[in-house]
Structures are given as C-alpha cells and as structure tokens.
C-alpha cells in the first residue's frame, strides 16, 4: 500500500485526459507508419488510463486532488477536480473503454477504421474530461467532444438507418448543447466566473429567479444526453444503429456521463435539493416508459436501448432520493448498468454478426451455436433484472432500501412502481433467454464462437458482474465517499477555493 501511495504521488490526473487526446491526434500520423497497429492504440490508451485511475484511487479517497492547469489559483484558470466521483467515473470509463477496444480489434473490420479509432478515443476523452473538470465551460467543451464523436460513430456503418438516426441524434443533441451553452452564458454573465466551485459559492447568496432560468436551461441541455424522459427520443435509434461496440459505450458510458453532469449541476452548483422530488417522479416515469417500450421490441438492440432508458430512470430515482444511501445506490446502479449493458451489447454484437439479423427470433437456438456468448448474454440479463448473485442485485437492494428508508406511503407506492418495472424487465429478458436456449434453431447448427478478442472482454465483464455481485463491499467504500462528495457542497467549494 505504501509503495502504491508513493507510486501514485508522482501521477498527475491530467494524464487521464491528455494521453488519450494526444493519441487520438497521433492516430493518423501512426497510420503513415503502419495501418495495422492503429487498432491497438485505444487498447493501450485505456489500459494506461485504467492503471492510472486505479493508482489514484487510494489517494483520492483520502483527499480530492485539485489540478490547477497552468498554475493559476482557482477561481482563475481551469482546474480539474479529481474527487471520488471523478475517479470512480474515470475508472469506469477506462475499464469499459479498455474492454470495448479489445472487442473492437476484430469487430471493426470494415469502413473507415482509422476514423473509428480516432473518434473512439475522442469520445472517451470527452467523457473523462466531463467527469474530471472543475470548470463549467470546460465541461461544455468536453461534453461537445463526447457528443460530436458519438454523432459520427452512430453513422459509422454509413447505411441509411445509421445516418438517419445520427442526424436525429445530432439535431436533438445540438438543441441540448445550445440550451446548455445559453445556461452557462447566463451564469457567467451573472457571476463573472466559470469555476464551478466559485459559482456554487456565489449562488448561495443569489436571488432564486435569476438562477432558476440558467438551471432549467442547463438541466434540459444536459438531460438530452442523460436520456431523461422526455428528452431521450434519440436514444433508441442511435443505440440500435451504431456498431455494437459503440452501443456498449453509448449505453454504458455516454448517457451515464450525461447523468453525472446533471447530478453535478443540480447537487453541487445549484444545490437544488427541493427540486429533487420532481426528479424522483421523473425517474419513475422514465423507468416505466423505458421498460414498457422495451417490452414489445422485436429488435434486440432496440430492446437493449429502451432498457437503458429504464435503467437511467432507476438511477435518477435513486439519486434524487437525496440521501447518502440513495446517492450511493444510484452510483452503484450506474456501475451495474455499465457492466451489465456493456456485456449485453458486446454479446449481442457477435450474435447479430453471426445471424446477420437483429431480430430476436433469429437467435433461436443460438445457445448451441455460440455457447459462451449466450452464457455471457444470460448473465447480463440476469444482472440487469437484479437477480442474485449478480451485480444488479446489490444495487437494486440498495435502491429499494434507500427508497423505503424515506418514510411515507408515497415512497412505498413509488417502490411498487419501480418493482413493476423490474417485473416487465424480467418478462422481456427471460423471453430472450428462452429464445436463445430453448427454441430449436433451424439451418446451420455448426458451433462457431465469437473470436477470442470478443470473448475476453465479455468474460471480464461477466467476472466483474459476478464478483461484485457476491462481494459488493469491494466498492462500497468508494460509493459512500462519492455520495458524500455529491451531497456535501460546502466541502467541494472549500477544497477548491481553499
């Protein structure tokens, strides 16, 4: 531990953003040397990020790291705020990024591969930037990097559906971004600062109507990416027409980073705790609408996409409970969703590749043809439903407990609705599992697995799902510390401004 501490002393969190960003721009240059090694660059980049992030965890748990870019003392200049939340998300981003980039080694065979890797690196750089930055305009910039690269990646296959949904995504995303920018502008005009801690500090003494408008604008703007109902209409199209590796990232990382931004803005900047009851309802509504829409889907990726909406609803519900336990539960659910949905999209990717169809009915008997992939898919579904001993269970356990800890019949009813969502989720996921294993497929019964580069990430995802499902204590300390960081605005301000 001591050596680890020593090692992490020399590590600058800026590397988490700089390395993938620099590598993204280096990709075309390296492409001149050899086209073959390009695809290994994201693997390396995120392996590096993963190691750095994990090394930083012990130190960050002890005390948040404030990185002053260019040495300017906050509130001047741009600073990074590497708290537990930030490091938790960066680890998650790096982990998912690393595993999905391994998956992409073989999965991305056609199309402009070079651009894929550049955009992929940029997307995750943007995501890491959003969760680490302590400057609101900087947040906007990283957010735009994230969004723009995902617009492009959705259309990667260049087919009609991809381009159409990419355009739809682009339109809605731009509306959101503009609103966000206006909101930031209003704040800047009012307080003359872009530093989040400084704004948060000054907002406490500001009159409420003047900050309400920027808050609405920012929440709406960020909510589009966070896939909160009714701002999430782009999601089913975009997630289902992107390449599966990108769907995994969009579902597992992009929307959660969006949600992080919403939470950060709500909790830290505006401290809008009395506004959260609205989000409790909104969360339940998002959950139910997502699950119900997923219920009758015949296209596997659309089903998974709608299920992501449902999961986002669950997270919003948990976080908006505004208790220590509730926020930890919400963060836990984010991790559980990233792992579960990531695994599902990766597994579905090769199943689709094999059957050349996204129809669930075309998966009949695929359990025999691709046993490992099917097993991985099943583990993912069980986890998302919340069955033990998978990770979805402890996270759901925490959410329900947090909700029941809020006294009153209202919360009991809401819990009932949330669990109703789980029942619907169980129904459609079990239907898929049944199709995979218990419907006799016709035609070619030959056993042909996904390539090893596809199986390894699935295996690691599944392993983590089971491991944390059995041993949730593994991350509970980080979650608790992250939750108190989000809930404790004063500490945030003090640690930045001194």
């Amino acid at each position: 531990m001591n050596e680890l501490g020593l090692l992490s002393n020399g590590v600058n969190p800026v590397l988490l953003i700089v390395v993938p960003l620099a590598l993204a721009f280096a990709v075309p240059l390296i492409g001149f040397i050899s086209k073959k090694i390009i695809k290994y660059i994201p693997v390396l980049a995120f392996l590096f990020n993963l190691i750095i992030a994990i090394l930083l965890i012990p130190k960050v748990l002890h005390q948040p790291i404030i990185v002053k870019i260019g040495g300017f003392q906050p509130p001047f200049g741009i600073n990074l705020y590497v708290g537990t939340v930030g490091i938790l998300f960066s680890t998650l981003i790096a982990l998912a990024g690393f595993l999905v980039s391994i998956y992409a080694l073989n999965y991305i065979k056609e199309g402009p591969k070079e651009k894929y890797h550049i955009l992929y690196l940029l997307l995750l750089t943007g995501a890491t930037g959003v969760v680490l930055t302590g400057d609101i305009f900087n947040l906007f910039v990283f957010f735009e990097i994230l969004c723009i690269s995902s617009y492009a990646l959705v259309a990667y296959f260049g087919n009609r559906a991809g381009i159409e949904s990419s355009i739809k995504y682009l339109i809605q995303g731009s509306v959101g971004s503009s609103l966000l920018l206006i909101g930031i502008g209003l704040l800047y005009g009012q307080f003359g600062t872009l530093n989040m801690a400084d704004i948060a500090n000054q907002i406490q003494s500001a009159s409420s109507p003047s900050i309400f408008v920027p808050m609405v604008l920012m929440i709406t703007g960020l909510g589009v990416e966070a896939a909160i109902f009714p701002l999430n209409a782009w999601l089913p199209d975009a997630h289902s027409s992107a390449p599966s590796s990108i769907s995994a990232i969009l579902s597992g990382i992009a929307i959660e980073v969006g949600l992080y931004a919403v939470i950060r803005v709500l909790f830290t900047i505006f401290g809008a705790s009395n506004f959260l009851m609205f989000f409790v309802f909104l969360g339940v509504l998002t959950l139910l609408i997502g699950e119900m829409s997923a219920f009758s889907q015949k296209n596997i990726k659309r089903m998974l996409a709608y299920s992501s909406i449902g999961q986002i609803g669950l997270i919003v519900f948990a976080v908006s409970l505004n208790t220590q336990y509730g926020v930890s539960a919400g963060l836990f659910q984010m991790i559980s969703h990233t792992l579960g949905k990531g695994l599902l999209f990766l597994a579905a990717g090769y199943m689709i590749y094999r059957t050349a169809s996204m129809d669930i009915s075309s998966f009949e008997g695929i359990g025999k043809k691709m046993p490992y992939t099917s097993l991985a898919f099943t583990i993912g579904t069980f986890s998302l439903i919340g069955l033990p001993p998978f990770i979805g269970f402890p996270s759901k356990f925490m959410i329900i407990k947090a909700a029941l800890a809020k006294e009153g019949i209202l919360f009991t009813v809401l819990v009932g609705l949330v669990l109703l969502g789980t029942v619907i989720e169980g129904a459609y996921f079990f239907r898929v599992v049944q199709v995979i294993y218990f419907k006799k497929g016709n035609g070619n019964q030959e056993r042909k697995e996904a390539p090893i580069t596809g199986l390894i990430p699935m295996f690691i995802f599944a392993l983590l799902i089971i491991f944390i499902g059995i041993y949730p204590n593994f991350i509970i300390k980080i979650l608790n510390s992250a939750a108190s960081e989000l809930l404790n605005k004063i500490d945030y301000i003090r640690s930045v401004l001194g």
């Binding site: 808050m215 009714p230 119900m292 069955l387 329900i400 029942v423 129904a427 079990f430 049944q434």
Partner: protein, 618 residues
C-alpha cells in the same frame, strides 16, 4: 459436520457435475448421484444439532447466517432425499436427451438453493437462495421447449412478482429494525403495531402464496408441472412448491410469532381465518378442475394445488395439532405426489412421452412397479387409512373440528371426495382396462426408475403405519415454535377428541384381509380373463379397441365444465394482454419524427418553468 460444508458440497457439486459431464457422461451420472447422496448423509448427521453461524460478511457487511434447527432439518432432509431419488430417477429418464450436463447442473443447483433456503438464518441469504432457486427453476421448466416456454414464462413472471414483494417486505424489516437476522427479528417484530404486522404478513404472504400456489395465485402451477421434465416435476411438486409452506411457517410463526399472528383482525376477518378460507378454496376448486383433466401430469398438478390447500388449512389455525397436520401433510404430499409423477414419468419413458389418459390403459402387467407406485400414491393422495396421507388429513380434520370450523371441514371433505373421483380415473386409465395394441411389447421400467418408486412406496406405508417416526420430529418443531407438545407414540397421536392408533387399524385391516382372502380361497376359483378380453369380463364385445374410459364422467363434465374454468388464469391472461397493449401504446411516444422530439425538449423546459411559477419550489 458444518453447514458451510453442506452448502459448498451442494453448490460445488452442481458445477462439478457439469464439468465432469464434459469428460464422460458415466462419470457425471455417478458423481451426481454421489453428490446427492452425500447431501443426505451430511444432513442426516446434522440431526438434533442446533447451530447458528455467520459465514460471510461481504454483502454490505450484513452477516449472512446459516443455522440449523429442527424446522430446517425437517425440510432439509425431505429436500435432500427427494433430490437424491429424483437424480437417480433421471439417470435413465434423461439418458438419451440433449444437454444432460446442463440438466443435471440445474437440477442440483435447484436442490442446493432449496437447502440454502431452509438453512438460512437471515433474510438476505434466504432471499438470495430463493432467487437462485427461482431462476434455475424457470430454466428447468423451459427445458422441454415448445409449450414449456410459455409455462416457464408464466412461472418466472409470477415468481419475480413474488420476489419483489419479498424484497419490499425484507427491506422494510431491515429499515425498521436494522437487522435481518431471523432469530433477532423474531424477538423484535411481535411488538410492532398491528397494521405493520398485517403489512408484513400480506407482503410475504404474496411471495409464499405464489410459490405454494394458493388460490388466486396458483395459475403458474398447472402448466409448469405439466411441461417440466418429469423427474424435475417430482422435485418441483414435492418440495420446491412447498418452500411456500416453509415460508409461511417462517413469517407467521417464527418472525411474527404465533402470539401476534393469531390476533390480527376482528371477528371473521382475522388473518389466519382468511388464510384458512383461501386454503379451503384452494382445496375445492382445483380438485374439481383436476377431474376434468385428460393429461396425467395436469391432473396431478391440479391436485398439487389442492393438496397445498390442506397444508395451508393445517397451519393457518396455529394450534399444535393443526401445525403438526400441516407440516406432516407437506412431507406426505412430497412423498406421494413425487411418487405419482415418477410413475407417470416411467410410463412416459416407455411409451415415448405419452401422458394423455385416453390413449393409455392396461399397463398393470407390463409395468407392475409403476402400477404399485401409482396405486399407493393415489391411496396416499386420497388419504386411505394405513397410508401416510390419512394421518395428516386426520390431524387436519381434527383441528378443524376442534376449532369449530364445520364449513372448512366440509370443504376439506368435498376435496377428498373430488380427489377419489379424479385419481381413480388416473389409475384406471393408465393401468387398468384394455391394453392398447401398440403397447403390447412395452417393457417394464429400468432399475434406476424402479428404485425411487419402491423407496417412496415403502415410505407411504411406513409413515402410514408408523406415523410416530416423522411426528416425533414434527412435534419437536411444534415445541420449538412455541406450541404445546403433542402426545405422540410410534403408532399414533392423541388429540382432545380421540386418539389415532394405526396399529389397531392395521390389525383390523389385516384380519379382514385374511378373512376375505380365505373366503376367496374357499369359494369357486374365478376364471382368468385375458387382458385383451377384460372389457366385459370375458363376454363377447365388438372387435377393435373399445375404450370406455374416453369421456369418463361425461355427464358430470357437461354439468360442471362451465363453472370449473380457471377464471383467475383467464383474468391474468387478460391483464397480460392489456399490459402488452399498453406497452405498445407507450412505445408510440417515440414517433420517429424528429420534430416531435425537439418539441418534447421544449415542452420539458416549459414544464419545469411551469412548476417553478406555480409552486416556486426553487
């Protein structure tokens, strides 16, 4: 022998069996049997030991506890013995099926999960094992493909609803009392307000009512029993469904406690009275629906629901006699219903999966062991004296009479009457009457099928003649739950209104048997009628197959069918349909037109502003 070892052997053995199957199927089979038998031995060694041990702290630092007491032991030994027998039975039943490795894995996993449930000393491990049991059961039910998929789906949906109810109940206990340890809870909960206790009993009652198929939560059961692979149906019907009874015992008499449970409500509407009435309904309606079935497994399945009603009736009253009756009936039911399903499975195995009662017949001589199993099974099911079902039904009747519940007793009697009518059809249409031509060369069942049938048949008689053996343990359960001890002897049991003495009955039956035998011996020797000629006992009949058992009870059917539809199931299916339509409607929110989507964004913003203007929350 420690409980951790037991759980490790149970779960580890299941997975090891799977991997051994990849090496050789012989190795796998012997290991599966060995594993199942090892569990029996370990559990047998645990008899009489009371222990409680926290074994794991990794789950949010909640101590996960395994504990053994007489109640757990009783259920565990039944589970493990039945599990072992049905694994043995599977050896030949599953021989030529696909994915047998997977089948054994799931079978042993279900077994292990059930053991985990009964040995859990806290609700969180209870819930975890419960869920593992639920999903692995769903997978096993779906195993046969085709219609089994719908059955599995129905099961899992109801099961998830049950689990969610339990999750709420469990977490509500956790937030209220800060612990999930069953022993601690049992000292804390009883003093809560009546409203809260009722909430607990109802919410857990939903969970366990679904599992135990109490009406109106029973609809998953007939399809699931009928479509699951038959050796697994034996486990499913015998013990798995009865985890519901274990759950009811746990919540009613361990956690809430008898004192508090029995005083909830006023007049007629007390919790246990309502439960008893639900039990009575569960006896009557399914038993008569069973009469209409032409599918052997469906017929038994409906009886499975009906018999569950007897158990509920027994435990609902919360007297020591009733408890003994309910718990003993759980054991007896496990024995005879799994025996019956195994007999059907043996028939299915030899006839190539036929379970339609109208196309079987006359198999008595071809498959004598299966017949004996079937005969003793239905005797137990009806509750004929000297079979085990008699004793437990006797106890339940006595309870109803002593508690002054004539209507419930009448319902229980009607249930028995319906049982006799319907199971006679079962026995007759399979084993008696004319042997269809195509089954002329049928062989008797293989040894690995006969063995479990013989063991279970023996158990029926043993517990029927010497009910004191299990009743001694059951009496200990009674005492441990705080009821007063019963006066149990090896061959009987005393109640306030008369004593049961099976030895006397045995002696009487024996004497009469001998007399009848002598009479027949003295009388004229009966002519032997060939099995193909038994329709009119040797008199001339038309050529070809003439099976009068088709449309058995036809007048009754015509009269009763309209009333004996499973209305509840129809209702649930309608709800499912509505839900589906609703989901389809909701999905239309995503119109696919981007203009609408942008409008949503603007509307959302407008809505936020509206909230602020109206309530000025911020």
């Amino acid at each position: 022998m420690s409980l951790e070892l037991l759980i490790i052997v149970a779960f580890g053995g299941a997975f090891l069996t799977y991997f051994l199957g990849k090496i050789s199927s012989k190795l796998r089979n012997s290991f599966a049997v060995l594993n199942a038998l090892a569990l029996v031995v370990i559990i047998a060694c645990l008899y009489g030991q009371t222990m409680e041990k926290s074994f794991y702290f990794g789950f949010f630092s909640l101590p996960l506890i395994l504990r053994n007491n007489v109640l757990s032991w009783f259920f565990a030994i039944a589970i493990s013995v039945l599990g072992a027998l049905s694994v043995i039975f599977s050896l030949s039943y599953m021989r030529n099926r696909e994915r047998t490795d997977f089948y054994y894995l799931m079978m042993l996993l279900v077994n292990a999960a059930m053991l985990g449930i009964v040995f859990s000393g806290d609700l969180i491990s209870f819930f975890i094992f419960w869920e593992i049991m639920s999903w692995s059961t769903c997978i096993l039910i779906s195993y046969n493909r085709g219609p089994a998929l719908a059955a599995g789906m129905k099961y899992i949906i109801m099961s998830i609803i049950g689990s969610m109810a339990m999750l709420v109940g469990m977490l509500s206990l956790y937030t209220t009392y800060g612990t999930l340890n069953i022993a601690t809870l049992s000292t804390l909960v009883a003093s809560s307000s009546h409203g809260y206790l009722l909430f607990l009993l109802i919410i857990f009652g939903i969970t366990f009512g679904i599992k135990n198929a109490v009406m109106p939560l029973h609809t998953w059961l007939p399809d699931a029993y009928a479509e699951a692979p038959s050796p697994f149906t034996a486990v499913l019907s015998g013990m798995l469904t009865r985890m519901g009874i274990y759950g009811f015992l746990l919540i009613m008499y361990v956690i809430v406690g008898a004192g508090a449970t029995l005083h909830l409500g006023h007049g007629f509407f007390t919790f246990n009275n309502i439960l008893a009435w639900l039990g009575a309904i569960t006896i009557v309606i399914p038993t008569f629906i069973a009469m209409l079935q032409n599918d052997a497994k469906k017929l038994l399945a409906w009886h499975g629901i009906g018999q569950g009603g007897y158990m509920i009736l027994g435990i609902a009253f919360g007297t020591s006699l009733g408890m003994a009756g309910g718990i003993f009936h759980t054991l007896n039911h496990a024995i005879y219903i799994s025996l019956l399903f195994m007999s059907v499975a043996a028939i299915q195995y030899r006839t190539g999966g036929v379970r339609d009662l109208n196309s079987l017949g006359g198999l008595i001589k071809k498959m004598p062991i299966a017949f004996i199993g079937g005969l003793l099974g239905i005797c137990g099911l009806i509750g004929i004296p000297l079979t085990n079902g008699f004793v437990s039904k006797w106890l339940i009747y006595k309870t109803l009479i002593l508690n002054g519940a004539p209507f419930l007793a009448f319902a229980a009697l009607i249930g028995t009457w319906g049982t006799i009518l319907s199971v006679y059809k079962f026995l007759h249409n399979i084993f008696l009457g004319q042997l269809p031509e195509k089954y002329k060369n049928i062989q008797k069942s293989p040894f690995s099928m006969r063995l479990p049938i013989i063991v279970l048949s023996f158990a029926i008689l043993l517990f029927g003649i010497l009910p004191g053996i299990p009743l001694k343990v059951i009496n200990a359960i009674d005492v441990s739950l705080g009821f007063k001890s019963l006066n149990v002897t090896l061959w009987g049991i005393a109640s306030d209104s008369g004593t049961l003495n099976t030895i006397n009955i045995f002696a009487v039956v024996l004497v009469f048997g001998v007399i009848i035998w002598l009479l027949f011996k003295a009388g004229r020797k009966a002519p032997k009628v060939d099995q193909y000629d038994n329709y009119a006992a040797g008199a001339a009949i038309p050529k070809g197959k003439y099976h009068y058992t088709v449309d058995y009870y036809n007048p009754f059917y015509r009269m009763a069918t309209p009333y004996l539809k499973d209305f509840v199931d129809v209702f649930y299916m309608k709800i499912a349909k509505w839900t589906q339509n609703l989901c389809n409607t909701v999905r239309r929110i995503y119109t696919g037109y981007v203009g609408n989507y942008v409008m949503y964004i603007v509307l959302f913003m407008a809505f936020l502003i509206l909230i602020q203007l109206k309530w000025s929350v911020f």
